[in-house]
Symmetry: C2
Subunit: 188 residues, 2 copies
């Protein structure tokens, strides 16, 4: 019985995080209410504070969830991965949920933004995932891993932005092929 209750609790938590991610992607953080999230998840409104404390706690869970996805791209050794990280990242970019990153970014850069530090953790996790794969010897002379990670993560962020704005003008397959050529050996 206890196990089943835990399963139900886990499941409602998951439903709430998924609903919140979709609503934040569509309407932004500020414009999304507990009521919207509970209604979309089909879960009682009172359970959100119980699970997450407040809306910022829910945002934190949404960001953590995306960071987990990023970490799985870099955590497993090459021989255990079913496909290579670049393929996975380029697939990830195409998922509807990644519009979330654009909507939240606009709010994250506002003065005194409550979500800025959480958004910053997402970027930091992306850069760390890249750095974990870079051997300094694989990089061109004159570049450092930290700055290379900013540039590569930047390229993925900016490719995603251009594609979201004008999918017909951005050939993601050609970009994928170009990134494969440009990346140092160790990162492929």
């Amino acid at each position: 019985m206890a196990t089943r209750r835990i399963q139900r609790t886990e499941e409602s938590r998951r439903l709430l995080v998924t609903a919140a991610a979709e609503l934040f992607a569509e309407k932004g953080y500020r414009q999304t209410s507990f009521i919207d999230i509970a209604d979309k998840a089909g879960i009682s409104r009172g359970s959100i504070p119980w699970h997450f404390g407040n809306k910022l706690g829910l945002l934190e869970a949404v960001i953590d969830d995306q960071i987990q996805v990023v970490l799985t791209l870099s955590a497993s050794p090459a021989e255990e991965r079913s496909s290579d990280p670049l393929d996975q990242v380029m697939g990830f970019i195409r998922l509807p949920v990644t519009r979330l990153f654009i909507t939240l970014l606009a709010e994250a850069v506002e003065g005194d933004s409550p979500i800025r530090e959480h958004y910053a953790r997402l970027h930091a996790a992306l850069r760390e995932a890249v750095q974990a794969r870079i051997s300094e010897e694989a990089l061109p002379a004159g570049t450092v891993p930290e700055a290379f990670a900013v540039v590569l993560v930047g390229a993925l962020i900016g490719v995603h932005a251009q594609w979201r704005v004008a999918p017909e003008a951005v050939d993601l397959d050609a970009v994928h092929a170009t990134l494969r050529v440009l990346l140092p050996e160790g990162l492929k």
Copy 2:
């Protein structure tokens, strides 16, 4: 007298575009009203329709203004430029007005966004500016100029995003140096 009137007209147009860019950057397109813009510019409200038709016309002028900046980075021949395009772009990123690109991006990717096509012109101009500088021979084998432009413009967009979110975590000087090493000869 006619010349002075034209000067005044040009000046009020310029004041309105500058005020609109600052307000769009801060509050987004939807949340900014003619009243906000006129008050900030210190110009009568009635003159906005006279200059720009409607708010979308004003947004168009703001985007055109930014595109002009981009075009000056790529238009003049190398020997006439006072500094190289990468230096100029990295300086441009640091300007307060470029927060505009992030705020408007979130609105541009909404379904049925009125500003999407104007935002798309901005990205297209950036890609064209890069492509105008790429000679196909300078690119690594297996890459095409269109996709390379998406990646390079993407890197600039995404470096900017990371820096806006966490300036303390992104060393723009190191990124600048890394981009200089990574870029093909013809583009430096």
